[in-house]
């Protein structure tokens, strides 16, 4: 299989075409637009057989894939930022209905002020919707996550969101290898929905019924437990992925360690910024600074145990976030602290970078490393 130089969005459209969803529905929003434009074009040119449904809003697009998924077919949509927030009510509903919808989120800042550029505020904000959330560092990872994501969704009857940084990945040309349809089919067979949970006139069922206080809590607990258990499935599907495609996602599909084994300082991050951090780690290693990176791939479910084991060897831990929980700290930082509570005594620092598309430079990452040993543990915004 040969590598091609592809724009991230086009690579996503191409892998989605090969995965063969039956229904694609979308509404345009920057920087997701190229993905759905490409899918619409593929349909127009007869290169794809899916139903392509243009809608009047992201709210409707999410509702269309909800209806199609409930009728027992593979579905896909993509969005970003305001579009994801507009979908939010439907996203919670899709998870509660246990529908294996897959969505790509081209991560982008949230208004106001209006800003179309990259950060991760959109997706992390809806972390509690019940979706599995996976983050790619490169366009190759994003492509691979889509294959794994559909398999994961259909195996667990849970929705999966694949996150890719807007512009930094969506509009960037990188060498990418797109597996053939035959190989994909070997890993991801055609979708075979559970017969008792779909809309079928020969087996009438009621979906989305009304749960009173004596029923609701157990149903929510079941969703909670199933998303937590998805960690095991990700590890299993990643190892199957390695067998079929000859490469995997991080070590276990949950996290990737970069030079952490002997690291005194470990930075934690997710998405494309990890590429820049790796560059800085290499340069500092040349200067005999023991720095490493822990990359989070699976943000929901969160790899608590894996993170603790890796970070337990570090003396200084810093979390680099492209999002904030206003008035507190970076959102990934909060999760790292929660995972490490009672197990790691070293302070965990929160650094915020790259909001609204601000370039994250090697200099900024170097600055973060320099600040790691400072006493101050307040959230720091590193904008230059």
């Amino acid at each position: 299989m040969a590598k091609q130089i592809l724009e991230g969005s086009h690579a996503v459209a191409e892998i989605v075409r090969r995965i063969k969803p039956a229904v694609v529905s979308a509404y345009p929003i920057t920087p997701q637009t190229h993905i759905v434009e490409d899918l619409a074009k593929m349909k127009a040119e007869g290169l794809a057989d899916f139903e392509y449904v243009n809608t009047e809003s992201e709210f409707a697009a999410a509702s269309v894939v909800l209806g199609a998924s409930a009728t027992g077919v593979r579905t896909y949509t993509a969005t970003s930022s305001q579009g994801l927030l507009l979908m939010t009510e439907v996203l919670f509903n899709i998870a509660g209905l246990r529908l294996p919808v897959v969505i790509t989120c081209a991560n982008r800042a949230v208004s106001s002020p209006i800003n179309i550029w990259n950060d991760q505020q959109d997706s992390v904000t809806i972390r509690d919707a019940g979706w599995i959330q996976l983050y790619g560092e490169t366009n190759q990872e994003v492509v691979d996550l889509h294959i794994l994501g559909f398999k994961l969704a259909e195996s667990l009857m849970l929705p999966v969101m694949i996150n890719m940084d807007g512009f930094a990945l969506t509009h960037t040309y990188e060498p990418v290898e797109i597996p053939s349809e035959n190989l994909i089919r070997k890993y991801l067979p055609n979708y075979n929905p559970p017969k008792d949970f779909i809309l079928d006139v020969n087996n009438p069922r009621s979906l989305g019924t009304f749960a009173t206080p004596d029923r609701y809590m157990e149903i929510r607990q079941e969703l909670f437990e199933d998303v937590a258990l998805a960690k095991k499935e990700i590890v299993k599907l990643n190892s199957e992925f390695q067998k079929v495609f000859g490469r995997g996602l991080g070590e276990d599909g949950l996290v990737e360690q970069y030079k952490t084994k002997d690291a005194e300082i470990i930075l934690v991050a997710m998405g494309s910024v990890c590429g820049t951090i790796k560059e800085v780690v290499d340069k500092l290693r040349n200067k005999n600074q023991k720095v490493g990176l822990l990359k989070i791939i699976s943000f929901r479910p969160f790899p608590d145990d894996e993170v603790c084991v890796i970070l337990s060897k570090a003396k200084y831990i810093g979390v680099v976030d492209k999002s904030i929980s206003i008035g507190t700290e970076g959102i990934l930082a909060s999760d790292i602290k929660r995972a490490c509570y009672g197990k790691i005594n070293e302070p965990i620092k929160s650094f915020v970078v790259g909001l609204g598309g601000r370039d994250v430079t090697e200099k900024m990452i170097g600055k973060i490393v320099d600040l790691m040993k400072a006493k101050d543990n307040k959230t720091q915004f590193i904008g230059s």
């Binding site: 039956a22 899916f50 409707a60 894939v65 909800l66 009728t71 579905t75 019924t209 029923r215």
Partner: protein, 298 residues
């Protein structure tokens, strides 16, 4: 009407709607007329909440409820999936919502469905009020009606606004089959549903369904007031095919005045209290006369 064992209907007893509910009476006719090869997408509202208490259901056809504002888009998704399965010619997609879902919160998504011309029957059960949340004003609430968010008082005569015309909105989208009915005319509902299903494309049926507690009426009045709303001209029962008015249920020669209708409801009681209210009754009578003229109801 022929007697049918209640459990042979596709909407079964055991639901928790109010006794005499106009919406449930109409909904049973609608689904029976559609038949068992039908998938329903239902909006949040009384019809949903009273028929689907987990782990029970009154529906004998596949049925889904997602949210308040999105059943039309869910219906589009169901239809798209049926196309992929080669079943779209054999299975009807029925979308149901109340007036809150249809006139207000879901209107944008309905417009999208109609723009796409999706082969879906949309039925609005219009109680002219947010029944499920305890009777607040919607875009379908008649002028001057008392609701829990349009109180009559020293500075108010009830709902300040006028009922939105959903039929005209549907016609503006070139929906090929558009009709209205009321829960006073069960055979008319059935006939219109069957006729609607003969059309490929979007279909819209708007049914006035009296709400016992929301209108402040007795539980034996849903059918009677469904008829009276039509006979006064206050709610025209009409049918459009490809934009042409093909059928209009005529008002009687000696048609009742609107006040005959209004005085039966607690929601219009305040109009009978003083001169100002009487003037408003004249405004509502004019709505009837306009309907009779515009839709040729004489």
């Amino acid at each position: 009407m022929k007697y049918i064992n209640p459990f042979e209907h596709l909407l079964n007893p055991g639901h928790t709607a109010c006794p005499g509910c106009g919406q449930l009476i109409a909904a049973r006719q609608v689904i029976d007329a559609c038949g068992k090869n039908t998938i329903i997408a239902n909006a949040t509202g009384c019809l949903e909440v009273t028929t689907s208490r987990h782990p029970t259901s009154s529906w004998k056809v596949p049925w889904i409820h997602s949210l308040f504002e999105n059943p039309s888009a869910v219906g589009t998704g169901i239809l798209a999936a049926l196309k992929q399965k080669g079943l779209d010619k054999k299975v009807n997609v029925l979308v149901q919502g109340g007036d809150g879902s249809t006139f207000d919160i879901g209107l944008g998504l309905i417009s999208g469905m109609w723009e796409r011309g999706d082969n879906i029957l949309y039925v609005c059960y219009d109680t002219e009020v947010y029944s499920n949340t305890g009777y607040q004003a919607s875009g379908a609430t008649p002028h001057d009606a008392f609701t829990r968010t349009s109180w009559p008082g020293k500075k108010s005569l009830g709902n300040a606004f006028f009922k939105k015309n959903m039929v005209e909105i549907a016609l503006a989208h070139k929906v090929p089959y558009v009709a209205t009915s009321t829960s006073g005319y069960l055979e008319d509902i059935k006939r219109k549903v069957k006729k609607a299903l003969e059309f490929t494309g979007s279909k819209f049926i708007h049914i006035l369904t009296p709400c016992i507690p929301g209108w402040g009426i007795n539980d034996n009045q849903a059918i009677e007031l469904g008829k009276l709303a039509q006979k006064t001209g206050f709610f025209p029962v009409i049918e459009f095919v490809n934009g042409e008015l093909v059928n209009a249920m005529k008002v009687p020669q000696a048609k009742p005045k609107v006040e005959e209708y209004l005085k039966q409801h607690i929601r219009f009681k305040h109009l009978f209290a003083d001169l100002q209210g009487k003037e408003q009754i004249a405004v509502l009578q004019k709505i009837c006369e306009d309907n009779i003229r515009i839709y040729n109801l004489k």
